[in-house]
C-alpha cells in the first residue's frame, strides 16, 4: 500500500490544489479526486526529522471512511456518556476522556494489526475499543462491575486486552514508554514481523525514562514506534511552559521522527503505516500527533482555567476529526446525510445498551479480592485487615 501511495501523487491533484481548491481556515484542502468509490485526498504536510516523509496524497474507499466515521463516532459517544455517568457519580475516581483525539486511535488501528502491540497511558478508553474491546466492557469497568475489562479491579486507567496485544492502561505518566520498548524487544526477539507502539503525551515527553527508552530502542534497532499524542497541555501546564523544545518529533535526536496532523484520520493512518514499515526495516521512529482534547485533563479538571473557551470551540469547528470525515464523504457524494445519521443512531444505541448492561451487572465480590496477586496461587494465606482474619489467595486456573 505504501508503494501505491508514493506513486499516486498525481500532478492533476497538485495542480488543482495550487489553483485554489477550497481550503479551511487552517489551510487544509479537502477531497480532491473521486474515482468510483475511492477518494484521493491531500492531507496536511508532515514535518520530518531525519527521514523522508511519506506522500501527502492518501486514498481511501467509501467503506473505509464509513468505518472510520462509525468508529470515531462510537468513541465520541462513549466518552460523552462517561462524562454524564461521572457527573451522576456512577463512575468515581479518575476518568480521563479521549474526545477530540479519536482520529489517532482509529487511524492507528487502520494501519496496524492485532499482532502489533500497543501500550498507552491512562487515557485509554478509546484505545481499548480500538484494540477489539467492546464499549460494554469499558463502561462496565468504569462503573466498577465484574463484567468490566479488568473485572472492576482496574478502573478507568487500567484496561488491557492480551489476546489483541493491548498492554494497557498505565497510571503513572511516562512509565509506559520503557514498557513499550520492551514490547518491541519482544517482537525483535521472536522475530514475528510486528511492531511495538508506545503512546504517551506531551506532558510525559519530559520524563527521563522516555529518553532512556529512545536510547535503547535506537541502539538495538528495536521495531518500536513512539507516538506522542500532543494535545498541547500537560494537565494545567501548556507545552510552551513545560518543554524547552516542543518539537516532540525531534526529541529522539538521532531517532527519526514525523509530525502528523492528529485530527485527520487519514494522515494518521498514512503516518503509522509508514512508521511500521520504517520500524521493521530500519529502526525505531517517533510520531508526534498534533491533536486536541475537548475535555479537561480528567473529570476533576474543568479544562477552562488554563485555556480559553474560544480556543476549544475553534478547534471543534475547524478541526474536529469526525466532522472532517463527514465532510469528505458528503462533499464527494459518497454518502448521504441520512446514511450517516443512521450510523450515529446505531452508535448511540450501542452505548446506551452498554450502560444498561453495566447498571444491571454485579459488583466484584470478595472472591476476586485476593485473586491474581500471584500467577501461581502459592496456596498463600494473606493476613486480613485484623490479625484474626485470613484470606486464601486462590490458585489461578488459566
Amino acid at each position: 500500500m505504501l508503494g501505491a501511495l508514493s506513486k499516486a501523487s498525481s500532478s492533476a491533484v497538485r495542480a488543482r490544489l495550487s489553483s485554489g481548491a477550497p481550503r479551511d481556515i487552517l489551510g487544509r484542502a479537502f477531497a480532491a479526486k473521486v474515482d468510483g468509490d475511492t477518494l484521493s485526498v491531500e492531507v496536511n504536510p508532515f514535518t520530518a526529522h531525519k527521514v523522508e516523509p511519506p506522500s501527502t496524497t492518501v486514498t481511501a474507499t467509501k467503506d473505509e471512511l464509513i468505518k472510520y466515521f462509525r468508529e470515531m463516532y462510537l468513541i465520541r459517544r462513549m466518552e460523552i456518556s462517561a462524562d454524564m455517568l461521572y457527573k451522576a457519580k456512577q463512575i468515581r475516581g479518575f476518568c480521563h476522556l479521549y474526545d477530540g483525539q479519536e482520529a489517532i486511535s482509529v487511524g492507528m488501528e487502520a494501519a496496524l494489526t492485532y499482532k502489533d502491540s500497543i501500550i498507552t497511558s491512562y487515557r485509554d478508553h478509546a484505545t481499548h475499543v480500538g484494540r477489539g474491546g467492546t464499549v460494554a466492557e469499558v463502561i462496565a469497568e468504569l462503573m466498577g462491575r465484574r463484567t468490566g475489562a479488568s473485572m472492576g479491579k482496574g478502573g478507568s486507567m487500567h484496561m488491557y486486552k492480551r489476546e489483541h496485544n493491548f498492554y494497557g492502561g498505565q497510571g503513572i505518566v511516562g512509565a509506559q514508554v520503557p514498557l513499550g520498548a520492551g514490547l518491541a524487544l519482544g517482537h525483535q526477539y521472536l522475530d514475528d514481523g510486528s511492531v511495538g507502539v508506545a503512546i504517551y503525551g506531551d506532558g510525559a515527553a519530559n520524563q527521563g525514562q522516555i529518553f532512556e527508552a529512545f536510547n535503547m530502542a535506537s541502539l538495538w534497532n528495536l521495531p518500536a514506534i513512539f507516538v506522542c499524542e500532543n494535545n498541547h497541555y500537560g494537565m494545567g501546564t501548556a507545552e510552551w511552559r513545560s518543554a524547552k523544545s516542543p518539537a516532540y518529533f525531534s526529541r529522539g535526536d538521532y531517532m527519526p521522527g514525523l509530525k502528523v496532523d492528529g485530527m485527520d484520520v487519514l494522515a494518521v493512518r498514512a503516518a503509522v503505516a509508514f512508521a511500521k514499515q520504517h520500524a521493521l526495516a530500519e529502526g525505531p521512529i517517533v510520531l508526534e500527533m498534533d491533536t486536541y482534547r475537548y475535555h479537561g485533563h480528567s473529570m476533576s479538571d474543568p479544562g477552562s482555567t488554563y485555556r480559553t473557551r474560544d480556543e476549544v470551540s475553534n478547534i471543534r469547528q475547524h478541526r474536529d476529526p469526525i466532522e472532517h470525515v463527514r465532510k469528505l464523504l458528503l462533499d464527494a457524494g459518497l454518502a448521504e446525510v441520512a446514511e450517516l445519521k443512521a450510523l450515529e443512531k446505531e452508535a448511540k444505541k450501542e452505548v446506551d445498551a452498554a450502560i444498561e448492561a453495566a447498571k444491571a451487572a454485579d459488583f466484584p465480590g470478595q472472591d476476586v479480592l485476593a485473586a491474581h496477586i500471584y500467577k501461581e496461587g502459592l496456596g498463600m494465606q494473606l493476613r486480613g485487615v485484623d490479625r484474626m482474619s485470613w484470606l486464601t489467595a486462590p490458585k489461578q486456573e488459566d
Binding site: 468515581r92 475516581g93 479518575f94 469497568e141 466498577g144 462491575r145 479488568s150 472492576g152 479491579k153 482496574g154 478502573g155 478507568s156 486507567m157 487500567h158 498505565q170 497510571g171 503513572i172 505518566v173 511516562g174 512509565a175 506532558g203 510525559a204 519530559n206 520524563q207 527521563g208 525514562q209 500537560g234 494537565m235 494545567g236 501546564t237 511552559r241 513545560s242 518543554a243 476533576s300 482555567t305 488554563y306 459488583f363 466484584p364 465480590g365 470478595q366 476476586v368 479480592l369 485476593a370 496477586i373 494473606l382 493476613r383 486480613g384 485487615v385 485484623d386 490479625r387 484474626m388 484470606l391
Partner: protein
C-alpha cells in the same frame, strides 16, 4: 529509629507556649526542638520579632487545604529562600489548591511549575537545598514519588551524613497519599512504609487543619529533610487554626483522647476512623486512649511508652499494608521495649496486602473500617470496666 530519652544538648528555646502539648501532659522537654525564630538570623523581610502577635494569635476555622496554604504563604513571606516546586503548583494553583493564588504574590521563580519529571525535579530540589534555598517539593500524589526514590533516599537522606556534616538538605517533600475514593491501585499508595527505612529523613503525617498548618511551618523551618504526608481525603476537613507564629513539634505525638483501657495508635485518616469507632466504644462503656502518632519517623517514644504503661494494651490502626508498614515497625518497637508493661500482645490493624482495587466494595474491604477497630478493642480489653460483657 526512636529515642527513649532526651538527647543531651537539646533545650526547648521556644518556651512552653508555642506548640505545647495538652495541659494534662507530663511536661518533659521534647526530644528535639526548633531554634526560636529570634535566635536565628535569617536575611529577608518580615519581622522576626513576633512576640507581640503571639498572645493575640488569631483563631479561625479553615479547611486543611486552606490551612496548608496559609502556612505556605506565611513562611514564604517570612523567609525569601522558601520556594515551592512541583507540577501545576503555580499558575494552576495546585491540584488540591494548596498553592492557590500564591504565584500572583510570589512570582514564577518561587512557585515553580515543573515539567512532569519527578526524578528530575526532586534531584533539582536537593541541589537547590544544598546551595542554601529551602525548597518544598510537591508530589502531585505521593505515589508518583516512587520515581524519585533514588533522589530521596541517596541524596536527600544521606548527603548530610556522607559529606561529614558539610551539607544540609532543609527541604520538605510533601503531597497527598493514602487511599482515596476509587482512585485505582497506582494512585492509592502509602509511601510511608517505603520511606521509613531511609536514614536521615523525618516522616510526619498530618491529620487536622490545625496540626497541618503548625507542622508545615515547623517542617519548613527545620534544617532536616522532612517527608510530609497529607491525605487525599482530608483536604476538606475543617478545623481551628492558630496564628502565624504557632508551630508544632515535629517529633511529638498528639493525644486525641485520654483514656485508661487501651492505647490506640493511629495517624492521618485513620485518626478519624478510630474516633468514629470510639463513639461506639464510649456507648459500650470503654475508655480508650487515642494517640495520633504525627511523627512516623522517629516515633515519639516518650508519649507512646507513657500511654502503654498506663493502659497496658496497645492497638495500632494504620492504612499501610500489613507487611512492612509503619505499624510493623511500631509493633516491634513496643514489644521489644515495653514487653513487661504489656498485658496483651500488640494488635495491628492494617490494610491487606493487595493492590487497591477500583471497585468500591473491594477497596473498602482492603482498608481498616471502624467496625474492625471496635472488634479489636473488644478482643484486647475484654469486658469494659464495670459493665457485663455483652
Amino acid at each position: 529509629m526512636y529515642f527513649s530519652k532526651v538527647m543531651s544538648g537539646c533545650v526547648d528555646l521556644r518556651g512552653p507556649r508555642a506548640g505545647a502539648p495538652p495541659a494534662s501532659y507530663d511536661p518533659l522537654p521534647p526530644i528535639w526542638t526548633h531554634p526560636d525564630p529570634q535566635s536565628v538570623t535569617r536575611a529577608g523581610p518580615g519581622p522576626l520579632n513576633r512576640a507581640s502577635t503571639r498572645t493575640a494569635a488569631a483563631k479561625k476555622e479553615l479547611m486543611m487545604w486552606e490551612s496548608l496554604r496559609e502556612a505556605l504563604d506565611e513562611e514564604m513571606e517570612r523567609d525569601p529562600t522558601v520556594c515551592l516546586m512541583g507540577e501545576d503548583v503555580g499558575h494552576y494553583g495546585g491540584s488540591y489548591k494548596v498553592s492557590y493564588g500564591l504565584h500572583k504574590k510570589y512570582g514564577d521563580m518561587r512557585l515553580l511549575d515543573t515539567p512532569i519529571c519527578e526524578n528530575g525535579f526532586m534531584g533539582m530540589g536537593v541541589g537547590a537545598a544544598m546551595t542554601g534555598l529551602r525548597p518544598i517539593v510537591e508530589g502531585m500524589n505521593m505515589g508518583f514519588l516512587l520515581l524519585a526514590f533514588n533522589q530521596i533516599s541517596n541524596n536527600c537522606g544521606m548527603l548530610h551524613y556522607t559529606s561529614g556534616g558539610q551539607f544540609k538538605v532543609p527541604m520538605v517533600i510533601r503531597g497527598p497519599g493514602g487511599v482515596g475514593r476509587q482512585l485505582g491501585a497506582e494512585h492509592s499508595q502509602r509511601l510511608e512504609s517505603y520511606f521509613q527505612s531511609i536514614p536521615g529523613v523525618q516522616l510526619v503525617a498530618v491529620s487536622t487543619a490545625k496540626n497541618a498548618k503548625a507542622l508545615l511551618k515547623a517542617a519548613i523551618r527545620s534544617d532536616n529533610p522532612i517527608i510530609f504526608f497529607e491525605h487525599v481525603l482530608l483536604y476538606n476537613v475543617k478545623g481551628e487554626v492558630e496564628g502565624p507564629e504557632y508551630t508544632q513539634c515535629l517529633e511529638r505525638a498528639e493525644i486525641v483522647r485520654e483514656g485508661t483501657d487501651v492505647s490506640i495508635f493511629c495517624y492521618s485518616r485513620m485518626r478519624y476512623v478510630v474516633m468514629q469507632a470510639v463513639k461506639q466504644l464510649e456507648k459500650e462503656g470503654y475508655n480508650p486512649e487515642v494517640v495520633d502518632l504525627i511523627s512516623l519517623k522517629p516515633f515519639d517514644m516518650q508519649t507512646i511508652s507513657r500511654s502503654v504503661k498506663k493502659t497496658r494494651r496497645a492497638i495500632i490502626v494504620e492504612e499501610c499494608m500489613k507487611t512492612g508498614g509503619i505499624g510493623a515497625s511500631l509493633s516491634a518497637v513496643i514489644h521489644e521495649s515495653l514487653f513487661n508493661d504489656l498485658d496483651h500482645e500488640v494488635v495491628r490493624l492494617s490494610s491487606q496486602d493487595v493492590p487497591t482495587a477500583y471497585a468500591y466494595e473491594l477497596e473498602a474491604a482492603t482498608i481498616v473500617q471502624p467496625e474492625k477497630v471496635v472488634a479489636a478493642v473488644h478482643r484486647v480489653v475484654g469486658a469494659p470496666a464495670g459493665v457485663a460483657y455483652a
